[in-house]
Amino acid sequence: MSNKLAVKWGLIIAILLGSLYLIYPNYKWYSKPLAEREKLDTLGERPKRMLNLGLDLRGGSSLLLELDVSKLSAKEPLNEAMARAVEIIRNRIDQYGLAETQITRQGDKWIMVQLPGVSNPQRAEELIGKTAMLEFRIVKNDTTAAQKALEKIETTEKPFDDNGLLIPEIAKLVPEGYQIMRNKDGGYSVVTAEAPVTGADLENARVVMMGENGYPEVSFSFNAEGSRKFGQLTGANIGKQLAIVLDNTVQSAPVVQSRITKDGRISGTFTPEEARSLSIVLKAGALPAPVRVIEKKTIGPTLGEDSIKSGLSASFYALVIILLFMMIYYKAAGFIADIALLLNFVFTVAIMSYFSATLTLPGIAGMILSLAMAIDANVLIIERMREEKLLGKPVYEIINLGYDKAWSAIFDSNITTIIVGACLLQFGTGPVKGFAVTLIIGLTVSLFTAVFVTRAIYELILTSNTKEISL
């Protein structure tokens, strides 16, 4: 064996071993029973570099959220607000104890939340959908102007327009520096327009299962800054009603008995679940603006199972048919092409594991397409070799010429398909992206396996003074 050939084979074997090393965690993980995997998942002990299964293959839900940019504070740039929103949503979901959730920004003002294994995302939706804007305002219902405004709003059928704004005839009755808010238990309150203390100054929040009136309550504590502000506010307003406002709704309005600095409680007719969600969102912080679900997909676990089964078995049979066909039609050369094809599969899975890529059903389709392209590369080479063989050339020349002449076509066709893949990656979303990723990885790998590896195999065969090769 020449030095050059030895280096080639060293490289191929090193890459193969590296690939097997990368694939091994997948094997180890997916051979564990489901219950154990779930347990390890929640403990956060899932291996990092591993192939993930997409929602279409394992079941789960995805939510696409839109941040209401119009309600964003003018001081905060969109990018910062989005980054903050993603972070806050992640905190909320994490505290709820869902494993492997993917939360990613998409486009300008969209956030994609993927919840594997969750087939009814309603709870998650509630958790995410809460803006959780906690504010403390002073109630001022007792002036004549306030009474007038309250009377008017209670007798109006639709006091708010479609955008949630007060209709003008009521708005003009509200005294300067105040605003009207809905009470959680019905009715309305006139409160100060300014909110001197907000949830941003909170340090912690937790559920108190048995509150004063028998319902669960949420207790919270302020940080140093919050304590100072809250002390000031309560100290100056003893004997008045303090409105605890959550997402523009007055939750409760207790009378301030004394100056309070550190702790407080939100009481109301909460269910235990509601109280738990509220404490989570309060702790995680308020969203910079409300979010709205604009797309929701759920895939039940049984459908995921069915689709993985039929998709995988069909892909398997397709592969077997191709391998058999190559072996029968092209004999030894076909067998060598088949080896390259299997290596292509191994390397692609290894690379995807390394990048922790997500395998979806369209992703499998992309893999099949790249395998078909790899086959085409070998068909091109073998057909060229056949042409040379018919001219009666010696075997080493057949091989050299076959590769040299086929190379430009293989290269150009792979590059054009990679170009298509790159366009898909750039503009596609979700399933299309999954397809593009496996296609690009598969094609790049196929340039290596279908050309470099097969040639190394031929060269190895040639070292034993082979005179004839069956094509």
Binding site: K296, G311, L361, I375, E387, L401, A409, D412, T416
Partner: protein, 338 residues
């Protein structure tokens, strides 16, 4: 002994080019008529709307479900998958995601047959619009890049344009098939369209590559003969590759399950159309546009340079017709033959 599907062929592919063009025109006209009369069944990924797929525990008649749904006053489409599973979809422009789903489930509850929700999909109109935009952009952009790349690699913009016209033909054929069968076009189908685009241009490139090579091997050959020779020489490869892909796709189509069924269908139509368009459209177009002349680059594209082409060809022939770039290539081949 080599196994051969095809004997060595010598078919005059260019002879019938007028017939191909007429067929192409028929596909175009038929397609346009079909698009306008039947339209497309765009999936809710693009239109926005809600889809709920359920599986009943006991057999339920489709008409019963339809009655229950129409009692809610909504216009839902019902599709049966066998095995007591059904998909109910409703295209809506309502921006409230989840409302329609709740209404559909409420209607199904009135049937009093227990069911499980297998899958739901609610897409707001803004998302649908965005998806359509993205899909169109990705198709347009890949076509442009393909033209640029092919024009660059084969140093002739005509070749790139002809290749893309063939791609248009394939896209058109697939859209035609989807319009005719009223199959739903969703995001995955768009991925299939683009895959076919990549695969069809693959065929084109293999033949172009042969033409590029033959041009240097047989500098005196007439362009028409050269094209025919190249197609014939690559025909065996074209058929083997296409057959393996069609085999693979056929298996996916029959056994791959409903999720990739439409993907496989698009691939099937596209692959067949792709071979046809490469042989019967791309190369004849290159031939027609270059007026049967050998054309190795920019000269023919400039009208003023046309007159001098004949002279230049003679000069080129005297020099052995070898532009600088190709000299090295021939040398390399010769060295290999030693």
């Amino acid at each position: 002994m080599m196994l051969k599907l095809l004997p060595k062929t010598n078919i005059d592919f260019l002879k019938y080019r007028k017939a191909y063009y007429i067929l192409f025109a028929l596909v175009l006209i038929g397609g346009v008529i079909c698009f306008f009369t039947k339209g497309f069944n765009m999936g809710i990924d693009f239109t926005g709307g809600t889809m709920v797929q359920v599986k009943f525990d006991a057999p339920v008649e489709m008409s019963e479900i339809r009655d229950a749904l129409s009692a809610t006053g909504a216009e839902s489409e019902l599709q049966s998958f066998g095995d007591n599973s059904f998909a109910i979809s409703e295209k809506s422009t309502s921006s409230e995601v989840g409302v329609v789903q709740a209404r559909i489930e409420k209607a199904l509850d009135t049937l009093n047959v227990p069911y499980t929700v297998l899958m739901t999909n609610s897409v707001g109109p803004a998302v649908g619009e965005n998806m359509t935009e993205r899909a169109l952009w990705s198709i347009l952009l890949s076509l442009v890049f393909i033209i640029i790349y092919v024009a660059f690699r084969f140093s002739n913009i005509l070749w790139g344009v002809s290749g893309v016209i063939a791609l248009f033909h394939d896209l058109f054929a697939m859209l035609f098939a989807f319009s005719l069968t009223q199959r739903e076009i969703d995001l995955v189908v768009v991925a299939a369209f683009l895959t076919v685009a990549g695969f069809s241009i693959n065929d084109t490139i293999v033949i172009f590559d042969r033409m590029r090579e033959n041009r240097h091997l047989h500098p005196k050959m007439k362009f028409g003969e050269l094209i025919n020779l190249s197609i014939n020489e690559t025909l065996s490869r074209t058929i083997i590759t296409t057959l393996t892909v069609i085999f693979a796709v056929l298996v996916l189509y029959m056994f791959g399950g409903e999720v990739i069924n439409s993907f496989a269908f698009a691939m099937l139509v596209g692959c067949i159309s792709g071979v046809y368009s490469t042989i019967a459209l791309t190369t004849p177009l290159v031939y027609t546009w270059s007026h049967g002349e050998m054309n190795d680059g920019s000269e023919l594209n400039k009208p003023a340079a046309k007159l001098s082409v004949a002279v230049k060809r003679e000069e080129a022939a005297a020099e052995g017709y070898a532009p600088k770039k190709t000299v090295t290539k021939i040398k390399r081949t010769r060295r290999n033959r030693k």
